[in-house]
């Protein structure tokens, strides 16, 4: 199995605060991967490291086996759409297609034009005057015209209305399915990406909390309900991700490493969203009582 993006104890620091720390992950080729985490979790930092905009402060990241920072040749294989889909707002979509041709050796202008025509994007209006959804489509068309092997999208649908979100993701899936492009797209909402992704990376508080194929993740997590639990080991449970207790009853979300046979527990399957929320809830609230000067 080919690995497209590989991070090894990757870290990036702004001043004294780590935006990303000890991040290790492997993104296999051909996956549509969702990078999920709350705002400020380090998603953009990870994507910027992968596209070579940032230089790692610790560890290493490799894309197609190459270190992306300062590697101009590697850029040809990576399509990147930054957050808020920045484009030259006074350029028309047609001019942006021309500009892309001047900025890339491999450039499929026909693909971009066909795409934009199909989507009904006017070629001669400044993109600053297009709707947010249309602008995102222009940015995606420009990224696809590079014929990239890896597509990195930073919060591509965050500023779109629900209809535009669906259209954007549909058109994205339509175009990467045939080419076998690996896609890594970030969002702070799993619900946006749940339908399209088959791989998931959960990032929180500068660290990778969870990474794996969606099917595996759903398969290996279970919800256990039983009498109040004192924290002792349970057969078949590798780790308790999140526990909530009432006086008499405990509800645990656990990662399993075998069948759970203990009859004291009622075992339920969980959805992807429950898994993600369980990992995000864990350690997401770094308390700041000291900074506020109030008692904890």
């Amino acid at each position: 199995m080919d690995v497209v993006v590989e991070a090894d104890r990757l870290g990036k620091r702004y001043g004294s605060a780590w935006a990303l720390r000890d991040c290790s992950l492997h993104l296999p080729a051909g996956r549509i991967a969702a990078l999920v985490g709350p705002n400020g979790a380090g998603k953009s930092t990870l994507l910027h490291l992968a596209v070579g905009l940032l230089k790692p402060d610790a560890g290493a990241v490799r894309v197609f086996g190459r270190s992306p920072y300062g590697d101009t040749e590697g850029l040809a294989d990576i399509g990147f759409v930054a957050q808020d889909t920045p484009l030259y707002r006074d350029f028309t979509a047609a001019e942006l297609v021309v500009a892309g041709g001047r900025l890339n050796r491999r450039w499929d202008a026909g693909l971009a034009r066909t795409r934009l025509a199909q989507l009904g994007i006017p070629p001669d209006r400044p993109v600053g005057k297009l709707s947010g959804g249309q602008r995102a489509q222009v940015a995606l068309a420009l990224a696809l015209a590079k014929r990239p092997r890896l597509l990195l999208l930073d919060e591509p649908v965050a500023s779109l209305d629900p209809l535009a979100r669906r259209e954007f993701l549909q058109s994205l899936m339509g175009s990467v399915a045939d080419a076998g492009t690996t896609v890594l797209l970030s969002s702070h909402l799993l619900a946006d990406l749940e339908r399209v992704c088959d791989y998931l990376i959960v990032l929180n508080a500068a660290q990778v909390q969870l990474a794996g194929a969606v099917d595996d993740l759903v398969e290996e997590h279970r919800q256990l309900i039983g009498a109040r639990h004192d924290g002792g080991p349970i057969g078949g449970v590798a780790a308790v991700v999140r526990a909530s207790h009432t006086d008499r009853q405990s509800t645990l979300l656990v990662r399993t490493d075998g069948p759970i046979t203990d009859p004291a527990w009622t075992v339920r399957e969980v959805g992807l969203e429950d898994v993600v929320l369980a990992y995000l809830a864990d350690g997401s609230t770094r308390t700041s009582h000291d900074e506020w000067g109030v008692p904890a």
């Binding site: 990147f80 930054a82 900025l103």
Partner: protein, 329 residues
């Protein structure tokens, strides 16, 4: 990439051209009128005659009177000259500072720097094109100003080497403009917002220009000294248009009696109380006037040195800017 640069900056280029045209429409008639007056007063002959050694006193007096009339008539234009001095820094503010700062402010650097060309190439081509355009504009400006200020400087005692007029003409505007643009670009890579970058550019440009003009320029070449007696009919034989750095009156033993002045008494004249010329200043017999100056024929040498200095600074700054661009995400 050149196409992209042109597409992004064509509006700025158009505005600059329009500005130039408006400036020319204003300045050319003034320049022509100055030259007419110059010819009417016969000052072209004066310049030639005064350049020769041993000019007769009558010619000098007539010519000085002519220069005086000319200066009186056009002295208000010196204010215009001072205003024109700001043009290079304007180019730095409006071309240089937004170059990187605007991309970062609007986030488009993440689009353009992740294309297959790479950001180093982007920076080199873009900085190169804008710098070349700035050099062209500055060369036109320098040539035009050389023509325009020529009568003003020839009429003034201090020639082309004097403050302000030296900075306006010849090739130095190229150095200043290139420096201003480079400064703007670097400020944009450090502050990454247009307004702070423009502010820093303005402050740094004024600081460096003033420091060079006041501290460095007088010492590009060892200054010459000129001494002449305080008693005599003949004034100093210093060439017209020399740039006087310091002057004063010295006693025979070399001590400076009076700074920033000179004394000239006709022979045999004494003060009403019978004391010799300059005695009230503490001047001893045998005292002489002393001047430290840069001769006028060093104009092009000084232009070359100053331009070289600013071009070198600009190249250094541009190199820094390319380096900085690699660190912005």
């Amino acid at each position: 990439m050149i196409w992209l640069t042109w597409r992004q900056h064509r509006r700025q280029a158009l505005f600059t051209l329009l500005g130039f045209a408006a400036l020319a429409a204003l300045m050319v008639p003034i320049g022509l009128s100055m030259r007419n007056t110059w010819a009417d007063l016969g000052l072209a002959d004066c310049v030639r005659q005064l350049a020769a050694p041993n000019v007769a006193a009558t010619i000098r007096d007539t010519c000085d009177a002519g220069f005086h009339r000319f200066t009186n008539r056009y002295s208000s234009l010196n204010l215009v000259a001072v205003l024109l001095l700001t043009l290079p820094v304007l180019v730095g503010l409006f071309w240089g500072a937004p170059l990187v700062a605007r991309e970062v402010e609007q986030g488009t650097h993440r689009f353009v720097w992740t294309q297959g060309l790479g950001r180093t190439r982007w920076a080199v081509v873009k900085f190169g094109v804008v710098a070349a355009a700035a050099v062209l504009a500055a060369a036109g400006y320098g040539l035009g100003m050389s023509w325009w200020v020529e009568p003003l400087t020839q009429a003034a005692r201090e020639g082309r080497l004097g403050m302000i007029v030296f900075d306006l003409q010849g090739v130095v505007p190229i150095g200043y403009t290139l420096f201003a643009v480079a400064l703007g670009i670097v400020a944009g890579t450090v502050w990454k917002r247009m307004l702070p970058a423009m502010g820093v550019t303005l402050a740094a440009f004024i600081g460096v220009r003033a420091a060079v003009a006041i501290l460095a320029r007088p010492h590009y070449q060892p200054a010459r000294t000129l001494t002449f007696p305080i008693v005599g009919t003949d004034g100093p034989q210093a060439d017209r248009g020399g740039w006087i750095l310091a002057q004063g009156v010295r006693n025979p033993d070399g001590t400076l009696v009076a700074e920033d002045t000179r004394i000239q008494c006709p022979p045999g004249v004494t003060a009403p109380d019978g004391r010799p010329c300059g005695a009230e200043l503490g001047v001893e017999p045998g005292a002489y006037n002393w001047q430290l100056y840069q001769p006028a024929d060093r104009f092009w040498l000084f232009q070359g040195i100053e331009t070289g200095l600013f071009v070198a600074l600009a190249v250094l700054l541009l190199y820094l800017a390319v380096r900085r661009v690699r660190r912005i995400a």
